[in-house]
């Protein structure tokens, strides 16, 4: 459509039903409308999280580590649903563990994620939409966390390996002429320290379960979960 195109053929005659609603004559041609740079501009902006940049309440979010615990129905595919959600929505996840709870038919999924606060909020809300998820939430900051690690090192100096294993309250699961396999448990810092200590022997293989967690004291681990009883976690709708 050229700028100087002659206007009107039958097109906009005769009570056009178009949105302009004011007949052909009243419609300025598109080329006669103010160009983008001639239009009034707002001064405000939003950041990439869609938050209005307000000089008064400037909102910037750094990512942080969070432990998310979910009670789920133990049905086929539940893990695929959760892991599929995490990958599809590009959530940054460090580990994911699954295991039974005190209630038959219910499992607990524990995820460690590295996300901004809005990202953590999205993970919780998107997980809550999955039908088999009964309850989900972030475990409060001082949660009890632990991880299990199996570690295979070279057995050149069995006594030294044994000493380091003792130092970190580990257990020797297998000792052969060439390798020693050790089990370690603890929170992440302790595991990292232990791995540093074992490095001197030559680490051959590692298998880590990832962190799992429970809230301290009377605080429920997943929202609505009743602590200290033989189960009865609340069902959906909390």
């Amino acid at each position: 459509m050229s700028d100087d195109a002659p206007d009107a053929r039958p097109a906009t005659d005769g009570g056009s039903a178009s949105d302009a609603g004011s007949g052909a004559e009243a419609r300025p041609a598109a080329a006669d409308q103010p160009a983008p740079e001639e239009r009034e501009q707002p001064e405000g902006r939003r950041n990439l999280e869609g938050i209005r940049i307000d000089p008064v309440v400037e909102a910037e979010h750094d990512s942080r580590r969070a432990v998310i615990s979910a009670l789920v129905e133990d049905e086929p595919g539940v893990l695929a649903r959760v892991s599929g959600l995490v990958s599809r929505r590009q959530f940054n996840i460090e580990s994911l563990t699954v295991g039974p709870t005190t209630v038959e038919g219910h499992s607990r999924i524990t995820m460690v994620v590295e996300e901004t606060d809005p990202g953590i909020d999205q993970i919780e809300k998107q997980m809550a939409k999955l039908k088999p998820v009964i309850s989900v939430g972030e475990v409060s900051g001082d949660a009890v966390t632990a991880e299990l690690v199996l570690l295979k090192v070279e057995a050149d100096d069995p006594a030294a390996v044994h000493a380091v294993t003792e130092m970190y309250d580990g257990r020797t699961l297998d000792a052969g002429p060439r390798t020693i396999t050790v089990q370690l448990t603890g929170d992440e810092d302790r595991i990292d320290d232990a791995l540093d200590a074992f490095r001197q022997f030559g680490i051959l293989e590692i298998a880590r379960t990832g962190q799992t967690a429970l809230a301290r004291g009377d605080t429920p681990t997943a929202p609505g979960e009743k602590p200290g009883t033989a189960g009865e976690p609340t069902t959906h709708g909390d």
Binding site: M1, G50, G84, K131
Partner: protein
Amino acid sequence: MSDTAAQPREDDAEDTDDPTEGGTGDPSDDHGSGPVSTGAESVVAALETAGAETAFGVQGGAIMPVYDALYSSSIRHVTMAHEQGAAHAADAYGVVAGEPGLCLATSGPGATNLVTGIADADMDSDAMLALTGQVPTEFVGNDAFQETDTVGVTRPITKHNYFAHGADSVGDTVGEAFELARAGRPGPTLVDLPKDVTQDETNETPGPATAPPGTDPDPNADADAVEAAARAIEAAERPLCLFGGGVIKAEASDAARSFARTYGIPVTTTMPGIGSFPEDDDLCLSWAGMHGTGYANMAITHTDCLIAVGTRFDDRLTGGIDTFAPEAEVVHVDIDPAEISKNVHADYPLIGDADRVLDQLTAAVREAPDAEAWRDRCAEWKETYPLTYATPDDEPLKPQFVVEAFDEATDDDTIVTTGVGQHQMWASQFWTYTEPRTWVSSHGLGTMGYGVPAAVGARVAADTMGEEDRDVVCFDGDGSFLMTMQELSVAVREDLNITIAVLNNEYIGMVRQWQDAFYEGRHMASDYTWMPEFDKLAEAFGALGLRVDDYDEVAPAVEEALDYDGPVVIDFHVDPEENVLPMVPSGGANGQFAAVEDQL
């Protein structure tokens, strides 16, 4: 269900007089009451109990037991030419009827052919239940003939999907899936039905179904949050409503109209929200976004209080997020908490059903915002940035003119379906929508080929509701039409009164437009001069085929098509070079829309 219906049907129904009766007595009210029925009969009984009236599908080996049970059911089955068509028809049926659509397919390729339609329903939050046949349970996982992991394939594109585990429970599973599809935020569900499950006998009768716990949330928003939002609305100087598809799904159009009119608040909609608010109302600025009106995009750029209802702030609406309604406090009403602050931060999140929350807001606002100057400004933008197109003597027929001609010739309750592309944009821009559930399109997924099967589904829905007088007009593109036009055979067989207006520009036109704007005019694979003659093709199908090349042929062809009793295809040869404008380039600022090409 009498025992005879459970017998294998060996001779088929080739010469039966009336296949709907099948000679098994009254099929309507005794499902499952007998001592023994099959899993398939239990499935059909559950569907009937849930209120399903119509199914769209394609037969095949693993789904045969279900089809056999449908033989003596009150549910009308519409055989489609392709499973994708079945899914789109079911989707559109649901949009028009306000009930979940129902589609069926066999295992393997039948199920995978449904996938596009399921994904489309998922993106547009349309309630739909898909039933797929599956190989017998003992073969699952063995790569049997026509085996696909349908539950795995459709997991990310369904609200929830189920693998049926036995004839005893399959009816309840199907009933729950149907209810889940329409509970809370609607969406597609699927039940995969291994053939042994549908063939096995059971004594169990499916009961009345409900959605699973926790999936049908409280419709009311928190009262304190409503009060806070009401105060923000009262204080606004430039308030603006943004009504999304959720308004229509929640049957909240009346509440939306009442709210905006009571407080004199201008209205924009999203594309799926078209019809929630009448576009001929003075307050209405039509829809915002990439190809929305200039005045809607100006208003959304300058508002200081955006009351967004039932929208997920899709990128085609927001443009670049940094410049989206950058000065607005956002009141966001949605039934799905996960949509709150997902793309745009909500200052006032109101989680609940759009209809209820709009009523709550209408009651809570004590005083209309002082917005007279703002309304004047919006009216000024309407004058300054109207939708427009030129019709020079030396250029071919303009597609926008065709859309306007149909709009003028039809009533307000006319249902418009579309494919995806330029024609879809013109159909949404140059038609004045005034009622909900009259605009049926593929928004989120952007599925070319949606239009024809959607017209079939929409027509069947209107007829089922006793609204045979409503017109159904499908605007399609040449590329879109070619993708699913086989469903025209269904429209002919079922004698469906639909008019398909192909806006044929011999291009996959939106791509051509982008190539001209962003790829230096290099028309790679966008040239569609190789199209068949659609009017002749229509005749071959047994439909009425017309061809239009010039302005003076438009009105007579439109009239002939609308008067014709049965499906019509009009091949409108329109200007290949016409572009969709205005346009906000991807990631651009809504207020900086290009009114003409050289502003891109």
